[in-house]
């Protein structure tokens, strides 16, 4: 249905896509995957002519898209952009039916279509049709982004990391919905992601890209069994090993958090916090046993009533053992909305600190691999 023939795209000297050849068949679900900046979005945008190829041709149903009016072309192709991009001044229903409006469908038909799609996505039209995007959750917004692409019933849909900004749970739900939708409606879908789990779960065929080139295109099973090279192997392997389930907090924490003794004076503590640029310190005794924590707000509030840090430390900190699985610690942080989580051993000796930064770093190294391996 969509054929790329030796397609390249250069941005003044920089090569974003290099000699891409690809044949997407009717009803097929193809995922493009690769590290950030490898040319996935560029490839997608060349299909609806938001970007013009420097070399090569793209054919849709045998017709070169260069010979098609870009506006007419785009109205026949569903498009979900990376940043969702719902129109803030339009209601949910108006957002979904933008393309039908452009195609000048009669109002009643548009309306019926909007409601039908909302129903299909499990969102009650009575409740949601007249809401504005800002009144929806992130997951609901992404659903509307997908529905908007389906509205005029286009045979081909382009999706650029449509579930990128979601928490893992909503993400799984939407993936399942999309998969069953595609089975039912027989759409041809080109789907960009940099999450290998997502690619393997959804795709009939996975296209792995790196630096503008296709490294391998294969079914998910083939990709797992016979990765073309080390790059693909590590890309698949990282995801399959599912490291985040095996890591323990000790491996992701920061080993040297800023600490003070309970006998330290308030002013001295403030100076230390300024110098280290932190807004919270942990209080430990001489043996290294964790006593509590002090935030700059507490320090500020109590500075007239207390002299020593020990007097104002918060003793009810949520802590975890150093052998806890990292995933549980992260769930705890996300669930309880903790800014930080001290890590202690069985004797309550402070071992380190998990912050949101360490969490993100750990997740990133699972997805993309450590910089130095």
């Amino acid at each position: 249905m969509v054929i790329f023939k030796a397609v390249s795209k250069h941005y003044n000297g920089h090569i974003a896509v290099k000699n891409l050849n690809l044949n997407v068949k009717e009803g097929e679900f193809v995922t493009l995957i690769g590290p950030s900046g490898c040319g996935k979005t560029t490839t997608l945008k060349m299909v609806n002519r938001l970007v013009e190829p420097t070399e090569g041709d793209i054919l849709i149903n045998g017709r070169n898209i260069r010979d098609t009016d870009p506006v007419a072309l785009r109205r026949q192709i569903g498009y979900v952009i990376q940043q969702i991009g719902l129109f803030p001044h339009m209601t949910v229903e108006e957002n979904i039916t933008v393309v039908p409006t452009l195609l000048e469908w009669p109002a009643t038909k548009r309306r019926a279509r909007g409601h039908e799609l909302l129903d299909m996505a499990g969102m009650d039209p009575v409740i949601y049709a007249n809401r504005y995007p800002s009144e929806l959750s992130g997951g609901q917004q992404q659903r509307i982004g997908v529905l908007r692409a389906l509205a005029a019933d286009p045979p081909l849909i382009l999706m650029d990391e449509p579930f990128g900004a979601l928490d893992p749970i909503s993400r799984e739900v939407l993936q399942d919905e999309l998969k069953s939708l595609q089975k039912r409606l027989h759409k041809t879908i080109i789907f960009v992601t940099h999450d290998m789990d997502e690619a393997l779960k959804l795709a009939d065929r996975v296209v792995v890209m790196r630096e503008g080139e296709v490294i391998q295109e294969a079914t998910p099973e083939e990709l797992l069994r016979k990765p073309a090279d080390d790059f693909v192997a590590s890309f698949v392997g990282k995801s399959r090993r599912n490291d985040s389930k095996l890591l323990i907090v000790e491996q992701v924490m920061q080993p040297n958090p800023v600490t003070v003794l309970p006998s330290v004076g308030l002013a001295q503590c403030l100076t230390l916090m300024k110098r280290k640029r932190v807004d919270t310190v942990l209080v430990v005794d001489e043996e290294g046993v964790l006593i509590g924590g002090v935030s700059i707000e507490t320090l500020d509030r109590e500075h007239q009533r207390a002299y020593r840090i020990g007097e104002i430390a918060d003793h009810n900190l949520v802590t975890v053992l150093n052998s806890t699985p990292a995933k549980d610690a992260f769930d705890l942080m996300v669930g309880d909305q903790l800014k930080y989580l001290p890590v202690v051993d069985e004797h309550r000796h402070l071992r380190g600190l998990v912050t949101r930064t360490s969490m993100v770093n750990a997740m990133a190294s699972v997805v993309w691999g450590d910089e130095n391996d």
Partner: protein
């Protein structure tokens, strides 16, 4: 004595003529210069410069060129109103999230549809606040128009000042002040009214 009602209507008419022309010219300019950063800087710099010329001086210069009467006043009002209107149109349109433009194009909007369905509605509150500033300023400048023989509420104020006639001064100054204050209040109400609900939520979330 002066007929204050007629003068008030005249005053408002002159203001609306100047601001109306400025909208007709300024919004398209604001939109067109979004295409080119360099031209935008140039146009903004020029309109900025214009603002440092005192209204009285601009009126005087225009009088030399076009003679006495309403025409040079309306031209001066137009020139003064351009800055806030061009600037706010430009800022309002440029401030729109690029993702929205891309989504709109990707769904097959023509340039014109993009402007009408996305760019203008989102920029409208910002443009309207430019129109409000322009209108209030124009009401003030129109009062000075009396010096170059234009109509409006300036005449009783100016004559009253020369004859030291307080009643005459106030018969022009009070309605002029009320006109300005009422336009300001009315146009801010309008500004709020045309801000779409979905947008107000976002604005309040981001601040």
């Amino acid at each position: 004595m002066y007929n204050i009602w007629i003068l008030t209507v005249q005053h408002l008419g002159l203001t609306l003529a100047g601001v109306g022309l400025a909208i007709l010219i300024g919004v398209p300019i604001g939109y067109l210069i979004t295409g080119n950063r360099w031209v935008a800087q140039l146009v903004m710099g020029f309109t900025d410069m214009m603002q440092t010329i005192p209204a009285l001086a601009l009126l005087a210069l225009l009088m030399l060129w076009m003679g006495l009467g309403d025409t040079p006043l309306v031209v001066a009002l137009l020139m003064y109103s351009l800055l806030p209107i061009v600037r706010n149109s430009y800022v309002g349109i440029m401030g729109i999230d690029g993702a929205l433009i891309e989504a709109a194009k990707g769904m097959g909007m023509t340039r014109w549809q993009l402007l009408r369905m996305v760019q203008l509605p989102i920029a409208l509150p910002v443009i309207m606040s430019g129109v409000r500033v322009a209108t209030v300023t124009a009401i003030g400048i129109a009062a000075i128009g009396v010096l170059i023989g234009a109509g409006g509420l300036g005449a009783p104020i100016w004559r009253g000042m020369q004859q030291m006639n307080t009643a005459m001064i106030l018969s022009g100054a009070v309605p002029a002040a009320l006109l300005a204050v009422a336009s300001d209040a009315g146009l801010s109400k309008l500004e709020q009214a045309i801000t779409p609900r979905g947008f107000r939520n976002i604005a309040s979330q981001n601040t």
